[in-house]
Amino acid sequence: MKIVLLLAMLMIPVTLAADLSTGAVASVEQPQPPAGFEAVDDIPPGEQIPAINIVAAAYGFVWLALLGYVWSLARRLKTVEAELGDLESRKR
């Protein structure tokens, strides 16, 4: 019963999503987003905002956030393990 309920919960969005992707719902004609990337050797003309700053900022943010998270995780784990060790030694 539980498995049936869980599968039903999962199947509803999957079925709806499959239905949507066949275009059953999208009837209005719309501009197409990029369906693929085309590689070129040089930067296309008309670069107004220096993209290198954006790419570097995005990558830097990813690095900082992940480093911060690893540090926070290590600190919390150390605190809990120290407390656990202390409690277990007192119990003995």
């Binding site: 999962l10 949507l20 987003p33 990337f37 993209a51 954006i54 409690l87």
Partner: protein, 219 residues
């Protein structure tokens, strides 16, 4: 699994240090130019954001339907990682969009539903932190609805009006763009596995600590 955590973190950190050179060597995209290179790390974090929602949802189902208390630790770990990866997705995406579309944000289905999933993770974490007794079961129900959102987020770009690249971008990627993408994807996946394992260990240790305190109080 525990033994793999440190090598995975070290290896993925090394790969992510090398990644800028590999990304730099990739060709430019014909219409977006240099800024399209955000894709090489935006895509892996976005996919792992969705994977977190699935892991959190499946483990929450194990808690709700099969009373598997250990699965709760994995659900909490996946939710926290999902929150971090969601934040990364929602920051790197608009940075790319500002240059490629001329705006930071559009309220299309993909972006809006991703924001909703991120807020679901935030609500889940607040609930688990301040919700008191019973918040684990309430949170598990919330996580199931977060997971149900995932297929919609994935197919949304193929269905509704959007400027976001479609899902066909990745399978049709030229080889010299595919190599940096899958290199970054492997690095982020290894880091994800290691951090998920570490965070679940922390949650299991906390549960053990609480049980010890309870036993001490009863004695």
């Amino acid at each position: 699994m525990q033994k793999l955590t440190t090598p995975f973190i070290v290896l993925s950190a090394g790969m992510l240090l090398v990644a800028p050179w590999i990304i730099n060597a990739a060709p430019y995209e014909s219409t977006m130019g240099l800024v399209q290179k955000v894709f090489y790390f935006h895509f892996p974090v976005a996919i792992l954001f969705l994977v977190s929602a699935i892991i959190c949802g499946v483990n929450s189902a194990r808690v709700l339907f099969w009373k598997n208390e250990r699965a709760d630790g994995w659900a909490v770990a996946a939710a926290e990682l999902g929150f971090v990866l969601g934040a990364l997705t929602l920051v790197t995406g608009p940075l790319w969009a500002r240059k490629a579309w001329g705006v930071w944000w559009v309220w299309d289905a993909r972006l809006t539903m991703s924001l909703v999933l991120f807020l679901t993770f935030a609500a889940y974490m607040l609930l688990r932190r301040y919700g008191g007794p019973g918040s684990d079961r309430l949170g598990a129900g919330m996580a199931l609805f977060g997971m149900v959102n995932v297929p919609f987020i994935y197919v949304s770009v193929n269905v509704w009006r959007t400027l976001h690249p479609m899902t066909s971008v990745v399978p049709t990627l030229p080889t010299d763009m595919g190599i940096p993408l899958w290199f970054c994807f492997a690095a982020f996946t290894m880091l994800f596995v290691a951090l998920l394992n570490l965070r679940a260990t922390l949650e299991h240790q906390r549960t053990r600590l609480e049980a010890l305190y309870l036993a001490q109080d009863e004695a």
